[in-house]
């Protein structure tokens, strides 16, 4: 059990490519932190630097208050679950689980006890004598988890562990991993590119882009108050609508119509964000700030609702609606003042509240 502190960490590869550009974040003891971002954002690199599989160019990583930059992976008291599980194919499940303990010269009966306990927890007791190739994807995933928990490490590191599973199993394993982590109370860092996985699993959501942190916070906080247009567009499905608007004399104008009066904003371009589900048909929103008509281009039927894609004054938008909508319809929409997000057009940073 330990907090993980990542302090101004930089990673520059031998070829001169900088993957991580000064990342600082503290993951409190027992928390489940999710690093999320598009591919190439540096999330796996950060995880591998915490694990010790990648050298840290600058900055410091501390696990339980202890600087680990110079330590071998084996001495950092961490366990890692890999995307391809990395089970040892020539060993039985039992040997896979006990390999790390045998290397550390744990007593034989202690190994047996821990392997049995882990197998019991993950319900893989019947598989102990099988080789990995005789297991299904989900079972391999459990064995990989088991290999992490038998070690009883200070931290778990997950590198996109569910991306090789089918959609249904992924949702199930997501819940299992989270329950297991809650019960064990082990600090965890989980890397994924799937924002939905990140939202559902995280205590602390860390959104990365281009080797930098865009935002850190509880999932709901990040969802409700995205700090940048990148986060706004990345977190949430379908993504937030981002519309170009202008500020003139303290008023935000969208296509010439005032939608919001905001004090203290300089004149110039501004980006207005509205989530698809915050746009309600008709003028039903209380205190409507935006009201406009949407020309419907196409409709995605989801069963429990539908996503309507259309245009308003040349800007593309997506709206989630419950009612039936036909192609070519014009849809009257409104959104409440409190549901609007304002971003600086140039920097993408959030403005005001």
């Amino acid at each position: 059990m330990a907090a993980i502190e990542i302090d101004s960490v930089v990673k520059t590869y031998a070829g001169g490519v900088t993957a991580v550009r000064g990342v600082s974040v503290t993951i409190p003891d027992g928390a489940f932190a999710v690093l999320v971002g598009p591919s190439g954002c540096g999330k796996s690199t950060i995880l591998r630097m915490v694990a010790g599989l990648e050298a840290i160019t600058a900055g410091e990583v501390r696990i339980g208050g202890r600087r680990v930059n110079e330590l071998d992976p084996a001495d950092r008291d961490i366990a890692m679950v890999f995307q391809n599980y990395a089970l040892y194919p020539h060993m039985s499940v039992r040997d896979n689980l006990s390999y790390g303990l045998r290397n550390r010269r744990v007593a034989r009966d202690e190994i047996a006890r821990r392997v049995a306990a882990a197998a019991d927890t993950l319900q893989i007791g019947a598989l102990l004598d099988r080789k990995p190739r005789a297991l299904s994807g989900g079972q391999r995933q459990r064995v990989a988890m088991g290999r992490a928990i038998v070690r009883e490490p200070a931290a778990f590191l997950f590198d996109e562990p569910l991306s090789n599973l089918d959609a249904k199993l992924r949702v199930q394993m997501r819940a299992e991993i989270r329950q297991l982590q809650r019960r064990l109370g082990t600090t965890s860092i989980y890397v994924t590119h799937d924002q939905q996985e990140a939202m559902t699993m995280a205590d602390t959501l860390i959104v990365l882009n281009g080797g930098r942190i865009e935002q850190v916070g509880a999932p709901l906080g990040v969802y409700r108050h995205p700090a940048t247009t990148f986060v706004a567009a990345f977190i949430g499905s379908p993504p937030m609508n981002l519309l170009s608007a202008r500020v003139e004399g303290g008023r935000v104008l969208l296509e010439g119509a005032e939608i919001l009066a905001v004090a203290g904003l300089a004149d110039g371009p501004v980006t207005v964000g509205i989530r698809p589900e915050d746009l309600a048909p008709g003028a039903s929103a209380p205190d409507p700030a935006v009201a406009f008509e949407l020309a419907v281009d196409y409709v995605e039927e989801l069963g429990n609702g539908r996503l309507v894609h259309g245009r308003h004054a040349g800007q593309e938008m997506t709206v989630a609606v419950a009612a039936d909508v036909a192609l070519g319809d014009r849809l009257a929409l409104a959104a409440g003042r409190d549901r609007l997000h304002l971003f600086d057009s140039a920097s993408g940073r959030r403005l005001a509240a």
Partner: protein, 292 residues
């Protein structure tokens, strides 16, 4: 497996015919000839031929020189395979650890494979030549009098080195490919699991290379037993006192030099039996003993 249905029943046979013809003319026919010849006794000028049944085989296994050749072959094949595999594995592991210059080293290490066996033999023969050889000279400085013309051990060492040197390239390529097919995450997982580099090599890398190693072992033994004729012919010519006369070389000596065609044919048939056995072993085991 993809299945193609031919409209005409003869077409597939027609398409296979060239390959079947080559196999029949160059492999099956000579092999049949050898089997038939091994039951005959012929005088040196080919004027009279007698059917003698298994007499050639009987004489063969009673012959102390033949039993010596069997033993020499066993020692030679095992040593060549062990040396060629060991050196190739060390080189492959070294190259696998390199990040940048790996292709350049790979190319250099593969070069010997392009050298004709007889030339490789001569090359080493020169370097070990007791009179003018640089390596023999070096050994003399160390106080060892190298003489493969007189010393049976030195002669064996020479042909083993010359034969293994060529095969290292081949083994190296397979080992590099085998090492690179082991996912990096496997070794990383082992590193996190507390296994040091040496332990990782012996508990993870080497077991995962078993299929490659086994395949190469059979290939190397076959190579040492059958393809090293030029190396031996160009260096020691089987000597001194038959110390480097392996089975293939004896087939040649008895048949083409000694003109004892019946015995030579019987020896060929024995060799054929050995190679068939090795091939069957290979197919059975490589299919089954693959570790994962």
């Amino acid at each position: 497996m993809k299945r193609t249905i031919f409209g005409n029943r003869l077409l597939p046979w027609f398409l296979l015919a060239p390959q079947l013809a080559v196999t029949a003319v160059f492999f099956l026919w000579p092999a049949g000839q050898a089997v038939w010849q091994s039951f005959l006794r012929q005088d040196a000028f080919g004027f009279s031929t007698t059917f003698v049944g298994f007499a050639n085989y009987g004489a063969l296994f009673a012959d102390p020189f033949y039993r010596n050749a069997l033993q020499v072959t066993a020692v030679f094949a095992v040593t060549v395979a062990a040396l060629a595999l060991g050196v190739a594995l060390i080189l492959a592991v070294a190259v696998d650890r390199m990040i940048r210059a790996a292709p350049a080293y790979t190319t250099l290490i593969v070069w010997p494979y392009a050298v004709a066996p007889a030339i490789a033999g001569i090359l080493w023969w020169f370097m070990f030549n007791p009179t003018i050889g640089i390596l023999a000279y070096g050994l003399k400085q160390w106080g060892y009098r190298w003489d493969h013309l007189l010393d049976a051990g030195d002669a064996m060492m020479l042909v083993v080195i010359a034969a293994a040197w060529k095969q290292v390239s081949y083994n190296f390529l397979f080992f590099v490919a085998g090492l690179q097919s082991i996912p990096a995450s496997m070794r990383e997982a082992a590193a996190i699991d507390g296994a040091g580099p040496v332990k990782r090599f012996f508990t993870i890398t080497l077991p995962l290379l078993t299929p490659t190693t086994f395949f190469l072992l059979v290939v190397n033994v076959v190579y040492a037993m059958f393809d090293t004729f030029p190396v031996i012919d160009a260096t020691t010519e089987g000597g001194p006192v038959q110390a480097t006369t392996v089975l293939v070389y004896k087939v040649y000596m008895d048949g083409f030099v000694g003109l004892n065609l019946g015995s030579s044919a019987a020896q060929s048939v024995v060799l054929m039996g050995i190679v068939i056995f090795l091939t069957v072993m290979q197919f059975r085991y490589v299919e089954r003993r693959v570790n994962y």
